[in-house]
């Protein structure tokens, strides 16, 4: 998961954070890491560019991007063979 955290920090320009500053279960939005709607779009781009995963159902977003852990689980279960 630390690799994913590095990618998130890089993609979202969170230069004030180190990977260890982000908890595996820490909420990414609002009261957690404080990400916003533009960050959500960048996370979708991150999945597409780095893992070749396209999110087709927008309703899935809140579940996938709840935390780094849920993102990692989604990547593991959806990466093309």
């Amino acid at each position: 998961m630390s690799e994913l955290k590095v990618k998130i920090i890089d993609a979202l320009n969170l230069k004030h954070l180190k990977p260890e500053d982000i908890g595996d279960d820490q909420p990414l939005f609002v009261h957690g890491l404080g990400l916003d709607s533009i960050d959500a779009l960048e996370l979708i781009v991150l999945l597409q560019q780095n893992y070749n995963i396209k999110i087709t159902d927008p309703q899935e977003g809140p579940k996938i991007f709840k935390s780094v852990k849920t993102m990692a689980e989604y990547i593991r279960s959806h990466q093309p063979a």
Binding site: L12, N13, L14, K15, H16, L17, I38, E42, V45, Q49
Partner: protein, 200 residues
């Protein structure tokens, strides 16, 4: 009622200058210069890292200019931002165009308008007054004076005005604060004084 230029700040050629006094300098490239200046000013505003260079320039200039000034006593609806440049958001437009060759970047897209810098400054300081951005061939003190003067007569007590321009490594920010009180620089708000501060 007369208005006065209470302070000015310039970021150019690796230097940050407040009221004619150099407060920071570095010879590194623009991105690094802006981040070093941010560090030097000991700011804690993580959104800075997400901004494009146009917004970073305006943001830093406004931070330097407003530091130590108590604007909280002024109604935020009576504090205006009037900025200008010659290249609009071309610097970020080009980066966004590049990103479109792979996957278009939403984070870049939101900066493909020059007046976003007004928004960043306004959000940071809670300013809710008039917000205007002019694109002109070159620095136009007559236009800035006329527009700011009218705002100050009609509906504002403070106005943050100036020029914020960037394309690649060519950059220039010149911001000044105009108010009704004869404090700070004690320069009367006039075209001649704007010209004089700009060329200093």
């Amino acid at each position: 009622m007369a208005s006065f230029i209470q302070g000015s700040c310039r970021l150019q050629n690796g230097k940050v200058i407040l009221n004619g006094q150099e407060i920071f300098s570095s010879t590194v490239a623009l991105n690094a210069f802006l981040e070093k200046a941010y560090g030097h000013l000991q700011l804690n505003y993580p959104k800075f890292y997400k901004m494009d260079n146009l917004s970073r320039l305006g943001f830093l200039a406004s931070e330097v200019l407003l530091k130590g000034k108590d604007i909280s006593s002024v109604n935020p609806f009576e504090i205006s931002v009037v900025l200008s440049n010659s290249k609009g958001s071309l610097d970020t437009d080009a980066s966004y165009f590049e990103s479109m060759k792979k996957v278009a970047s939403p984070a870049l897209f939101v900066y493909t308008l020059p007046n976003i810098v007004n928004g960043e400054i306004s959000i940071r300081h809670g300013l809710k007054g008039e917000s205007t951005f002019f694109v002109t061939p070159s620095f136009d003190p007559d236009l800035l004076y006329a527009y700011s003067d009218e705002i100050l007569k009609e509906k504002s007590k403070l106005c943050l005005a100036g020029w914020v321009d960037v394309l690649g490594e060519r950059y220039e920010a010149f911001l000044y604060l105009i108010g009704k009180d004869n404090t700070g620089l004690k320069e009367k708000h006039s075209v001649e004084n704007i010209k004089s501060l700009y060329s200093a």
